[in-house]
Symmetry: C2
Subunit: 97 residues, 2 copies
Amino acid sequence: MTEEQVEKRDDNVVFIGKKPTIGYVLAVLTQLNQGVPEVLIKARGKQICKAVTVAELVRKRYLPEVQIKDIKIDTEELTTEDGKTVRVSAIEIVVGK
Amino acid sequence: MTEEQVEKRDDNVVFIGKKPTIGYVLAVLTQLNQGVPEVLIKARGKQICKAVTVAELVRKRYLPEVQIKDIKIDTEELTTEDGKTVRVSAIEIVVGK
């Protein structure tokens, strides 16, 4: 039940990690083709540039009708395993038709 | 004369390169403190995350009255030394009071 709710909530979010760029591009394309009106691409730290590339590939190479709806930047505080707080930059890019 | 014009044109632009982040933060702060209303932070490729950090440090740590005015992402085509064309993601962040 909880798992299903979490999955549903994250339906229109693609969190950029360390995997190759194309996988995240496909994740965004899949959601848009399934009828989700907008997808939120989120990334932190060094993955921010990958998030930008994912958004650019989606709209320039694969789905020309898709536009950048919103871009926000922020600073997030993370707690490391030894209890220290580190600040890391983050980006949120909303793409949609 | 031309050199002066170029300098004048680039007065409110900080291009993010490979140097440490703090240098670019200081460049933005200097321009804002000299009375420039808005500064354009530009970066390509892997420097994009540094551009986000520079903007975040300027507004969250040093000048709380500064806001993010605009964020744009784009794809730029560069020609390498051997004549190949490569595409690279780019970001432009406008910060101002």
